[in-house]
């Protein structure tokens, strides 16, 4: 069964972008262009800090997703089974 990366706990994200750098390193480059992860930020509703949302392109699952999951210092990601194009 295919494994896919999921941003299971986006509320834990601190915006360090290490996940982006890890995936780009696997493609032998550094930078944001062409990244299959986007980390977007906005102020929290009470304006006390930032909250992040994480957008994953399915192409990311062609990479070593365990390394991407493991580099995250706050365990935002999980690796789950994919069945018939759906997340189980």
């Amino acid at each position: 069964m295919a494994k896919i990366l999921k941003a299971k706990f986006p509320e834990k994200c601190i915006g360090c972008e290490l996940c982006i750098f890890e995936m780009q390193k696997q493609l032998n480059k550094m930078g944001f262009e062409g990244s299959t992860i986007r980390v977007l930020k906005k102020p929290k509703e009470n304006f006390d800090g930032l909250e992040y949302s994480i957008v994953l392109d399915p192409q990311i699952n062609k990479l070593d997703i365990k390394k991407i999951k493991d580099i995250c210092p706050t365990q935002v990601f999980s690796i789950e089974d994919q069945e018939d194009g759906l997340i189980s």
Partner: protein, 282 residues
């Protein structure tokens, strides 16, 4: 990486013009405060704000700040801000931005890689640049200057200088990528550094973090003022001084990125900066 020239974006607010130049004579100043002070000295009469990054920004963990040099009432200040600004400048392909002169009206500077667009102050900042690849320096609703709507510069030097120049906000988008020439060695050095988190002078936490830093520390929000010139030439976090004052580590990082600095180049840097400071304060 091209280690022979630093790429500098010069913006003249008086004439609303800009140009990018490759400056080989800046190479010996490495980056950050070194390059910033040299540019400040060269353009002192134009009362510039020099925003610069170092060669490791965007490439190595904890090299996550942005250096700013300006004159506050005749006193030269070097300040350092966190957030995503440094990595956006790095991936714009620039080493420094020199902002000279003054706008007639409140203006927003929208920089994407090497291109600058001057916009009116009522522009919706959310429409500028590319989400996920941009960093915005702007005041919040209470008039406090913030990077990414969270990270603060120290004191109010930068706020005052931007107001003097009629610069209302700054958006920087970096959408360039750089190939890794020696991926295996790069990965080895990268992981070695990231695994030295216990040498950081801050504790891991869950606050918004700077780009490339896994700490999420309680100090991330607060900018830095002055400090170790080698660390600030790399524009690393001051709390990573234990890692980035190690010449061997720095040399390995620079080398794997293709820079041909020698140990001697790095060792003479503090003296070069000291000489610049004396020159600019004379």
């Amino acid at each position: 990486m091209d280690s022979l020239a630093k790429k500098i974006l010069y913006i003249d607010l008086n004439t609303k013009s800009y140009e990018v130049k490759g400056e080989t004579e800046l190479t010996e100043y490495v980056g950050g405060v070194g390059v910033g002070l040299k540019l400040f000295t060269d353009y002192k009469e134009k009362d510039p704000i020099i925003i610069s990054v170092g060669p490791l920004n965007g490439f190595f963990p904890y090299a996550s700040k942005t250096s700013i040099i300006l004159s506050d009432g005749g006193v030269i200040e070097d300040i350092y801000i966190g957030g995503t600004l440094g990595s956006r400048i790095r991936f714009s392909g620039l080493d420094a931005i020199v902002i000279m002169g003054k706008c007639n009206d409140k203006t927003v500077l929208d920089i994407t890689n090497e291109n600058v667009s001057l916009k009116e102050s009522d522009v919706d900042l959310g429409t500028l640049g590319l989400p996920g690849m941009r960093s915005i320096l702007a005041e919040d609703s209470k008039g406090k200057l913030l990077v990414d709507r969270y990270f603060t510069p120290p004191e109010r030097f930068l706020e005052r200088k931007l107001k003097e120049k009629n610069v209302h906000a700054l958006c920087i988008t970096g959408s360039k990528t750089f190939d890794l020439k020696n991926k295996q060695k790069y990965e080895e050095i990268y992981m070695n550094i990231i695994n030295r988190a216990e040498e950081m002078h801050v504790k891991k936490s869950t606050n918004p973090s700077c780009s490339g830093c896994p700490m999420g520390c309680e100090m991330s929000k607060t900018g830095e003022l002055g400090g170790n010139v080698l660390v600030h030439s790399l524009v690393a976090c001051t709390y990573a001084e234990g890692i980035y004052s190690d010449i061997g580590v720095i040399f390995s990082c620079l080398n794997v990125l293709g820079y041909d600095y020698t140990h001697e180049d790095l060792e003479k840097l503090p003296k070069l900066i000291d000489r610049l400071l004396k020159e600019v304060e004379a």
